[in-house]
């Protein structure tokens, strides 16, 4: 067991997978000598050389397109999009090609690749360095979307994503990079894709979240306990495929559910979670399922006041959770 930050866990996962499997390589902007703008690939260029830690020209569509081609060749690329906000130029390659490639083949063909993208706000990143993209990509059949919130999950899910036979969009919340520190297990520490995790047991109500919001929900649960409210916190970890059984189980257990995410509200992940609960746990509910999300505006200016106003935080979660508890 070692205590690590999220960014250290991500770096270690890439290092371990590259060490284990020579077909694993990293490609992205500034991932080489610079070690990535967040230092996620720090030291990898020196250790593995420029052919396995490839500084790409500034062209996101090509980064993903080249990764697809390499995966066709049996490689296991990890493509880094420097900020999730800049993934849009690569959407054609991700949606029309990566997600549909296997579907357009026969036989034993598959397309193993990972696309890493730092996402989310809270770092004074402003409009183009703060956005959330999970709902947009979770809608696409053929893609898997993961969003870990702890160092152990960040490492375990990235290693699982590299070993997965299909394309995985790996979202790493940049506010968690150095904020969250935690125990990372010895050994492989693989975390299966598609499995949620109860991060705190409770009986009165359930908070469902992922990424940075997981941390805020855990802090809120601690405060709720002081009020005598026992809150369960379910970490989705994988957004798609969603662990529906875990969502249903917590809803049935507590009968009151609040879903929290930082992405925009309309057609967001909360909508899908709530639909699953309504389909499978309606009879167990003691209150309408609630959601707390960012408003339907395109991220925020970087001023602290505006950023706080835009993002869900512990206080907002507490207020909503108390409303739910009192229902």
């Amino acid at each position: 067991m070692a205590r690590q930050t999220v960014i250290e866990a991500i770096r270690q996962a890439m290092d371990e997978e590259m060490e284990r499997d020579p077909s694993v390589f990293v490609i992205g902007e500034d991932v080489g000598r610079r070690g990535g703008v967040f230092l996620a690939t720090d030291g990898l260029h020196k250790k593995y050389g420029e052919m396995r830690v490839i500084d790409s020209p500034l062209a996101e569509s090509c980064i993903v397109g080249v990764a697809i081609g390499a995966a066709v060749n049996g490689m296991r690329p990890i493509a880094e999009i420097q900020f999730a906000d800049f993934i849009a130029p690569a959407m054609n390659q991700i949606i029309e090609e990566a997600a549909r490639f296997c579907y357009r083949t026969a036989g034993d063909f598959n397309l193993p690749m990972v696309i890493r993208a730092p996402w989310g706000g809270g770092v004074h990143g402003a409009l183009y360095h703060s956005q959330s993209i999970e709902a947009t990509f979770s809608h696409i059949p053929g893609l898997k979307v993961v969003a870990p919130g702890t160092p152990a999950d960040a490492r375990g899910l990235l290693k699982s994503a590299v070993r997965d036979p299909d394309p995985v969009l790996y979202l790493e919340h940049k506010r968690t990079y150095r904020l969250i520190r935690g125990e990372v297990p010895d050994g492989d520490g693989l975390v299966p894709i598609g499995k949620a995790d109860v991060k705190r047991e409770g009986k009165d109500l359930s908070l469902i979240a992922y990424g940075l919001m997981l941390q805020y929900c855990l802090e809120a649960a601690e405060k709720l306990a002081q009020d005598g409210v026992s809150a369960e916190v379910l970490d989705l970890r994988t957004i798609k495929p969603m662990d529906e059984a875990a969502v249903i189980a917590t809803a049935k257990k507590t009968g009151k559910v609040l879903v929290v995410h930082e992405d925009n509200r309309f057609a967001g992940i909360a909508g899908e979670v709530i639909a699953v609960i309504m389909e499978h746990a309606f009879d167990s509910l003691d209150a309408p399922v609630m959601r707390l999300t960012a408003p339907d505006v395109p991220a925020m200016p970087f001023n602290h006041v505006l950023e706080e106003a835009f993002m869900p935080n512990v206080d907002k979660i507490l207020a909503k959770a108390r409303e739910l508890a009192a229902y």
């Binding site: 390589f25 052919m51 396995r52 490839i54 790409s56 020209p57 062209a59 569509s61 090509c62 993903v64 397109g65 080249v66 990764a67 697809i68 081609g69 390499a70 995966a71 066709v72 060749n73 049996g74 490689m75 690329p77 130029p89 054609n92 390659q93 029309e96 090609e97 549909r100 490639f101 296997c102 579907y103 357009r104 083949t105 026969a106 036989g107 034993d108 063909f109 598959n110 059949p141 053929g142 898997k144 997965d164 036979p165 299909d166 598609g194 495929p241 969603m242 529906e244 059984a245």
Partner: protein, 362 residues
Amino acid sequence: MADSAQVVREQDPVRSVLRADGSLAGDPRRALGLTPEGFVDLYRKMVSIRRADQEALNLQRQGELGLWGQFLGQEAAHVGATMALEPTDWIFPSYREFGMAMCRGIDPATMLTVFRGLTHGAWDPRKFHFAPLAIPVATQVPHAVGFAMGSRLEGSGEVVLVTFGDGATSAGDWHEAMNFAGVFKAPVIFLCQNNYWAISVPLPRQTAGRIADRAAGYGFPGIRIDGNDVLAVFAATRAAAERARRGDGPYLIEAQTYRMGAHTSSDDPTRYRTAAELEAWSSKDPIARYERWLRAEGLLDQAGVDGIGKEAESTAEKMRTRLREAPAPDPGKAMFDRVYSRPSPGFQQEREEFESSLESPG
């Protein structure tokens, strides 16, 4: 450059080996390294894919296929390029490369099941070293570069050929991929089948410059050849492949050809082009001029021509029969089988619900 490239270098700006009248502008026999049987085989393959292409159009007209995109007039590009590669080299096609697929040994009837709407995928790319057809324009170009980067990492020595039309050269992915390949000296051959028409938009409305010239901007050579000359395509592709295999990086070939048919069976080219233009290109037909040369060289006689024609007829007939026998797929299997290699429990459940919803309610 290898010897073979000299053959196409002699004429500028459009380099050809065979003149339109079927006479020779170089000495391909020595430079191309082809045996007499090899020369005849190029002819056999062009005749065979043209006949299959016509049969596919007939099948579409008979309602047996949903759509067909003819490659009539582009047979020299399909055959010359494919046969100049090693079988282990990879091809990343666009959507009109049925002829290339046939040259690679993919069963034409199986391939037509895609156009019959029975499946999205008819072959395992790794088995034939032939990527899936790319319907979104130019998306396959970065794939070829990525594949080539993988070959370099593995040291496999495989070369990649990616082909696209003149319209694709306007797309951002094309530029990004050419740029990337130049920076990393990726072993890629960029084969532009410049067939003059992107649906209804002619070349001058697609680009103001010469496509081959653009390679210079990315730091590697480009060449403009007569794309209706199978020997020129063969020579240029072979030279580009040798160059890439040596580690000298990418090469752009602009093969000037002409789309004699419609864009697809849904298109009506009489709305935007003249019969006179079509007629002018008919005189440059890739098969007729090559046949004249083979006959003049004594490599092919009437009996040979007849025999090859019969073979092509038989291939087309078998393709038709086998296509009509292709079973209607099970919807669950056709739609759910290949979305994920490892389906999640939720996805499996959705499939079961989908399948049971199709069962008769009684």
